[in-house]
Symmetry: C2
Subunit: 369 residues, 2 copies
Amino acid sequence: MSHNALTALAKSLPASVPFVGPETQERALGRAFSARLGANESQFGPSPRSIEAMAQAAQEVWQYGDPENHDLKQALAAHHNIDPGHITLGEGIDGLLLTLTRLTVASGDAILTSHGAYPTFNYHAAGNGGTLHMVPYLDDHEDPRGLAEQARLLGAKLVYFANPDNPMGSWHSADTVQELIDNLPKSSLLVLDEAYIELAPNGTAPDLRPETDNVIRLRTFSKAYGMAGARVGYAIGPKSLICAFDKLRNHFGLSRISQAGALAALKDQAYVDGIKQKVAKSRETLAQIAQDNGLIALPSATNFVTIDCGRDGDFARSVLEQMIARALFIRMPFVAPMNRCIRISCGDEAAMDLVAKALPEALKAARSA
Amino acid sequence: MSHNALTALAKSLPASVPFVGPETQERALGRAFSARLGANESQFGPSPRSIEAMAQAAQEVWQYGDPENHDLKQALAAHHNIDPGHITLGEGIDGLLLTLTRLTVASGDAILTSHGAYPTFNYHAAGNGGTLHMVPYLDDHEDPRGLAEQARLLGAKLVYFANPDNPMGSWHSADTVQELIDNLPKSSLLVLDEAYIELAPNGTAPDLRPETDNVIRLRTFSKAYGMAGARVGYAIGPKSLICAFDKLRNHFGLSRISQAGALAALKDQAYVDGIKQKVAKSRETLAQIAQDNGLIALPSATNFVTIDCGRDGDFARSVLEQMIARALFIRMPFVAPMNRCIRISCGDEAAMDLVAKALPEALKAARSA
């Protein structure tokens, strides 16, 4: 029964959560996973300098973090060569989506995304009373022209677009994304989720024109920087939008330790370059494992590889369950026809060996089920 | 100019923030504070076991934290001898207030607090369109009978009450608080902020009756536990309210490092007992310093002491500014007549020596201004 203090909107919202964590599954299974390859965490970890900075900051954790996130914001502004007034920080991209949807979504507003894209965006849009509309994927890619067309028809308030895409790993060129930005109606704000952008080929991100374009771009330290557990994301957008975050955000929400870690991680770009190479190698390994098992790995510009299991969603789900039964945490797309696939995060050689060993067994078990 | 994507509510909200951080002041002053005694942080820090757990967890920060906060929630349930279904975690009490007000405050709802109490509650209530009403303090205490009476007259949706109180340090007995709980109309949810409760005398907190009482109690690791920078708070309330937090919260919002640190801190209750003694001693020192300067320290059940400067708000503000000019970060109440006071956090002997040295100088300067 709903508590009587809840608003009508809160009462109407489902109790479901966007993602079940691996720890929840481990508790249900009664044992730990041998490898965490389901949440596109970076098993390679962050820069050792970041770890050292966090251990150091733990000594000073009696102090609140700087609510202006000044040092990190300045460093990000320098890194991107933009004015710090175009940047706001949040508790991961999820935290930024929470505040962004609160700022922009009123009851009944049309909100547009792709059917099968990031569920946490949908969760936060619905959490503010937005009415979700979805454009299908086109050949395992989000469909920028379909989105622009629907945005005009609906007068969509927000249009969510991830480049590269999760869960498919696919991507569009900077030119295509810029075309989407330019083709949207002026009343539509593009929410451009670039969580994986550091791992994508050069030429995937359009130039930053934070004041000109009606777009808010979301970046994170959770993927290439290897700091998912620290919860640091940032948004880049027009100053009039960015400064509005201060009206609603949890000003002291970012851990002091996380701020210190992210700053150190940002400064160690050589480490990030090394991660890109490790991720690229792991993508190749995953593609080879897929091929060895008669499956097709989709091209990926992220730190995961989506593998077409060649049959329907029920079969892919069965493969996934068999992988989980072999203590490998992986996930899969939610929506047909993408749910013919499983999705495996990149990892080190030991993790890849576990995948190579488990996948043929899982496929065999799924085929005979 | 407001960005055109903002909702009408977002456009209407002020750009002001609840608190300016000491780092912002340091940047403006061009130098670091000698002591941070303004935000009621615990200069004594957390348990060394907590620091060790956080340094250890930094190595594993590539993994998201458990979105169910399972281990910490179970430990808190055991600590309080209640069912874990009565507990939810958040990014500090501020993060919990953010989600609580989103869950319960609709446009125009009457929200009740005390005039001069915690501004971040007001910020989040207004951020959801609530209409704030305020009851005056009574003799430097929040006024539970006045609040209950106004709650009935207004049909208040939420009633905020801090025990012990910030910024005055005053407190009510458990019996008085229970009377408030019992006297509120059934339609009013009591938001009982117990951020400082571990530092208060025994008999300050009413018994936990999380299913019976229409109250949500807010606790934190920021004060007695010394982990302000880690952002870990928790709420205890009826299951039907607590489970609704899952509808809106940032599920992965709590840093993995912070969860590990809080768990270790919770387990080291002997350390917390030591902190209580250090805080009590520092309160006595601050009272002595006040007396030595002809001022009156108000009784405190917190880790700070509010000192009556004996004149009006302008004078106290001048004293505060003189303390800040002497590189001591302190704060003061915002509202008359409490703003005749300054508020100084407890600290170690070195910090207290700095206060003892600076206060007579600051008073002299303020008197001659």
